[in-house]
Symmetry: C4
Subunit: 198 residues, 4 copies
Amino acid sequence: MAEAARDLVAVGARMDRLGWVPGSSGNLSARLGDTAIAITRSGVHKGRLTEADIIEVGLDGVALRAGDKPSAETKLHCQLYARFPETGAVLHGHSVAATVLSMAVPGDALVLEGYEILKAFRGIVTHDTRVALPVFDNDQDMARLADVIAPALDAEPIGYILRGHGVYAWGPDVERCFWRLEALEFLLRCELERRRIR
Amino acid sequence: MAEAARDLVAVGARMDRLGWVPGSSGNLSARLGDTAIAITRSGVHKGRLTEADIIEVGLDGVALRAGDKPSAETKLHCQLYARFPETGAVLHGHSVAATVLSMAVPGDALVLEGYEILKAFRGIVTHDTRVALPVFDNDQDMARLADVIAPALDAEPIGYILRGHGVYAWGPDVERCFWRLEALEFLLRCELERRRIR
Amino acid sequence: MAEAARDLVAVGARMDRLGWVPGSSGNLSARLGDTAIAITRSGVHKGRLTEADIIEVGLDGVALRAGDKPSAETKLHCQLYARFPETGAVLHGHSVAATVLSMAVPGDALVLEGYEILKAFRGIVTHDTRVALPVFDNDQDMARLADVIAPALDAEPIGYILRGHGVYAWGPDVERCFWRLEALEFLLRCELERRRIR
Amino acid sequence: MAEAARDLVAVGARMDRLGWVPGSSGNLSARLGDTAIAITRSGVHKGRLTEADIIEVGLDGVALRAGDKPSAETKLHCQLYARFPETGAVLHGHSVAATVLSMAVPGDALVLEGYEILKAFRGIVTHDTRVALPVFDNDQDMARLADVIAPALDAEPIGYILRGHGVYAWGPDVERCFWRLEALEFLLRCELERRRIR
């Protein structure tokens, strides 16, 4: 737990420097063995976490210690850990690019094509490929939202966006999960720029 | 006073790193008990404050110590403390997004709709809502400006913008006031981006 | 000299963090009494200066110590110190906003109007004003360029831009000169944004 | 080797702060005498390098120590060291500007004209010049890509771009190579901005 907490505190500060966790937004988590998850508590700034802000929840998202309050979105983290056993960390942030782009694209996916940085994702070995990044309508009912997300996970997407809300990224550990998040945010900024220029 | 001064010095540095207090712009304050307010003195850079740059004024905005010069805009801080007793801090910055957007929107409000980050504000529990952020024409006469602002405060807005000037945010303490400012600035950047893309 | 050197080293680091001195671009100077100027030597990165990179030149721009090589643009600094006796520091940087905007505006001035931040400049007490920021065509012949600039200085402008090149700001000391530069760059970013949005 | 490793670790952190090495992207190298090159190993984040992440390869790009895995793009570094004997360092990053601009321009070069910052490059003494920055289609076959690049190097370009991928810059040492990269990225951001404004 101590190591996971340190990693999450540090990655929160990195996400904050990049402007991805305004206010108390975002949720950061790491798997703890086979039965628990370390996750940021509700209502704290992710750029100024202390280890006391990282709490333990079971695989069902329920806090292991009475009084600890996980975020409602903990359920979306749990869904990813359950669906992808090799996942060791999940990072969710709110960037301007993800927010604006997901409100601008009408459909249920953003198509990414021709970028070298796509090779940051597992199984992609060339820029000469088309990748669909799922975009889901935002919902305050987490159980219903998880049901909408579930079928799209079968395709093992590179991450997903909640419309007007933010990005979810996952990876084998906190560090490599951050790399995937960074690559996703890079792609979103590129797509946003491409919609601006002549 | 010492704690309020430390908090204001620190939050000024955060605002500076985000580019919201160019030159000597901006004003930062915190409530001190029932009778006084700690506020930045006039004509200092808010990113390089020392505790000596934080002065005490009464609830009427008059400096408690002879020789201390509060900013003219202190009156707008006092208005917020008087109108909302639970307010413990007020932050005012000048961002590019607030400046440009307020000069581009013609009316007296900017409508924000569909953003998850709106939940950063008290009483908002879903993204599926419409929020009007008041925009007031700038005025160098603070008493007159306060009179224009007063009726709009009845709706308990999430903050307000002075056109071509900047944002005012308030909250229960300096930290949570910063979160609200950060959420407001995030929303303004999103709105600016949405006016740029195809 | 030691204090001026320390101030210039520190302000170079601030300009670098803001992206205004790419490569070895930019020149920073401070007046030393009545007869000399401290200025950055040619061909060093302004974000990683040491005090050894600050050299002394006379009011004519000639190095006081054999072997020291000031930048060619030292002459433009000297012009400002000679023309405005109260000037204690001159900062010149290369920002994207100044470069792009000056290449986009056709005439010899950029008109700035309605911005609260204009009050950062001496003698301006309201946003409700129009200010002309001179824009000069770039020239590698510094004597000729200084001759073109000279008449425009009679109006005591808030600074000036060299087209496709960068901004010159001056002020009573290094700190307040930086505030003016920061205000100028803020205005240029606002103007650039306003030319982008619908 | 120790000095080269220290320089590359430090320059990676600078590139990271500027957002040019998302995920594990980018490659950084420095020449070691006449027979070897120090280069970042494959699959590490360039903003958090340790000296252990810098490995030695021969001029042919083959690791000198068994088990060390250089990036596939090491061959492009070797090509530059072989072609330009005075080159002491090569930096390759992935910026949003380079990615987006290279995907937007149709031809095999981006023309840069009228910028003062062009003087950052050897042999350029005035802004009043036209410079062609080569843009090559991206390719996962490094030998084939090197063959496409080779003829364009005869013109001693100021750097080059791989489309949808990133920039290559080279210089006499790590510090001055970074200056050239910084100047290139500045130019690319300017060009991107100019395609956005009215």
